[in-house]
Structures are given as C-alpha cells and as structure tokens.
Amino acid sequence: MEIFVGSIRLSRIGWCPLWIVALSVGLLFFLQACAPKPLYNWGGYNECVYAYCYKNDPEKAYALLSETVTNAEKNNLRLAPGLCAEYGYLLYQRGEIGLAAQYFQKEAIAFPESAVLMNKLIGRLKQGESKETASQPESVPAPVTGPSGGAE
C-alpha cells in the first residue's frame, strides 16, 4: 500500500522533474563535449603563482615550478606560455644566472611573442656577468630601457 502510494506520487510528479533531469543530463554532456583538451602542460604553475603571490612563499613556488619544468622536459610535454620565462626568473633570484639565461632562451624559441623581452633580459644577464660586480642588487635583470622609458 505504501509502496503503491509512493509509486503513484512518484509517477504523478515524476514527469515534471524529468524535464529538469533531462536538461541537466543534456547540459552535462554538452559541457563535456565543449570542454577541449588542454593546449598545454601547466603542471603546478597555478599553485606556484598562488604560493608566490598569495602565500608569499617563494621557496614553495620555486619547488613547484622546478618540478613542473623537469617533468615536462622528461616526458616531452608542451609547457604553457610563460613557464620557462618564469622559471628563468626564479633561477635568477637564486643566483643561477647561466641557467636563467638558458630558460629565457627556451621561452623565446618556444614562443616568439616573448623574444623581444627575453633577448633584453639575456643581454642584461650577460652584461652583468661581464661586469662581475654585484654592486646593484636588482630584483630582476631590468630591460635595457631605463625607468625613464627612453626609446630604443
């Protein structure tokens, strides 16, 4: 009796939510079909930027990006735009100038859009190396153009 009543109630109101159920299922399939495969390997980049910007934890940021880059190189994955350059910057911060320049170079080759900036930075690194004076501890190898923004 109870079950019977229950089934009647279900069947009576069932048709209306069925619309909603069908719509939701359809929407799910639709979204799944729409979701494309990622273009790039991002690895732990999101967490890296989050650790650096939000958590103020450069060590963790470095560890995450280092792992991401190493893993991509090992497995021949296409690294997302900016990742090699970002890694180069974190390497520079740790005093690994030669490696930093290498990764700036990798970025410029993988993404020609970055070449202007990367070449500026590489030039700056080389200048710094030839001077061999750590008199100006800058946070980054600043572009050749100064703060006044003189045209190149």
Partner: protein, 226 residues
C-alpha cells in the same frame, strides 16, 4: 497541461534572452587581433586587500588555454617594480605604448575588482565577486575588449527545518566568517570561475587566440556588430 509547458518554455527562453542581452562589438578586436597579452597587477576598488593577489593567480590558465601568449605573471610584476611601478594604480595609468616598449606585448589586460564581498542574506552567506576586464591594444590604445563579470555563490545551505534549524544556520554562517581559512577556501574557487567565465563565455569573452585550434572560426560566437 500544454499551456503550462508553453509558459515554462517561455520562461526558459526569457532567461536565455536575458543572459545574452549584453552583446559586445568585436570589430575593434578584429581590427587589432593580439597574439600576446600582458597581465598587469590587479586594481582593487574594494577593501579586501587580499583580493587582487588571489584573483591574478586565476587568470593565466584560462587566458593561455584560450590561445594567447601570456607573459609570466611573477616576472612581469618584478619588471614593473624595477621600472618604478610597484602599484596597480600607477600601472593602470601608464600609456599603453609603454607596455609595448618594455615588454613587446600586443595588448595589456587591466583587471579591476569592483566587488568582493560576503553578504548575509536571510540564512545564507552569499559571496559575490565582480571584476572588470579591459584589454587595450598597446600600439594604438584602442579598447579591444571591455567586460564586467560577476559570480556569486551561496555557502552554508542545506536543510534543517524549524526555528532551531534557522538558528543553527545563523551560527554556522557566523563561524564560517571567522575561520581564517574560509576566505581562501571559499573565494579561490569563485575567483577561478570568475576568470574562466569572463574569458571563455560566448558573446562576452575573448575569441580564440592564435594558438587555439578554433582561431578564426568563432566569429559567429563573438560577432562584430557591423
């Protein structure tokens, strides 16, 4: 019965209509299609001081996956500091040509947080984030894209009937606000969906960029109104 279905259908269509009324004109965008985008520090119109640093971390992936070259966030920030521009307020006032000169970027993305709040509505915390995304061509200063996106989410929720339930809900909501981690755990997913929706939604987001397989094939989704 059929009339009821018609009414429901009409309501659905009405909702859809509302969702797509704010159409953008993409002709300036197609006149200066960018390959590379520089994301600069986020400007904050709210009192939530942690908001800009959280929001900027959510931008690179949707933007990169949309097919654009994205300049590295941390390096960009450091370079701007070296140029004597440590604050978003100063950076957002810079002539767009400077970003081309210093970074070689085709376009610069200015993001301004308009609302970042948690409102107590009846028995639920409703979190709201609203931000304006403005993409500027660095060579001409043309506004290529200007879109304000809002997202909101209700926390708490769930049943619990009667007055006792209401009081319990109120307590939960109050405690929610006090937990230090709640800001992070609640707002971070919301911030992610904000950036994702702003960048990828048809008619209001960004057309697929040069690295995207659909580049040039989505003009009907992002129409120029000419």
């Amino acid at each position: 019965m059929p009339t009821r279905q018609v009414v429901v259908l009409a309501l659905c269509l009405g909702a859809l209509g509302c969702a797509t009324t704010t159409k953008h004109d993409y002709s300036p965008f197609y006149a200066h299609p960018p390959r590379s985008i520089l994301v600069v520090p986020v400007l904050n119109d709210t009192v939530e001081i942690q908001a800009p640093n959280m929001l900027i971390t959510t931008v690179p992936i949707p933007l990169g996956e949309r097919g654009y070259y994205i300049f590295p966030i941390l390096l960009t920030d450091a370079l701007l500091r070296d140029l004597g521009l440590p604050e978003a307020g100063l950076i957002h006032q810079l002539p767009p040509g400077k970003f081309f000169e210093h970074f070689g970027a085709d376009a610069v993305l200015f993001i301004t947080i308009k609302d970042w709040s948690s409102k107590y509505v009846v028995i639920q915390n409703v979190m709201v984030i609203r931000a304006q995304f403005v993409l500027i061509d660095t060579r001409t200063g043309t506004v290529l894209w200007d879109h304000t996106q809002a997202v909101q989410q209700q926390s708490g929720g769930g049943g619990g009937g009667g007055l006792g339930g209401l009081i319990a809900m109120a307590v939960v909501a109050a405690v929610d606000k006090l937990v230090a981690e709640s800001f992070e755990s609640q707002y971070r997913p919301l911030a992610m969906s904000l950036s994702f929706l702003a960048i990828t939604t048809n008619n209001v987001g960004l057309p697929a960029g040069p690295y995207h397989p659909n580049h040039g094939g989505d003009r009907s989704d992002f129409p120029a109104s000419k």
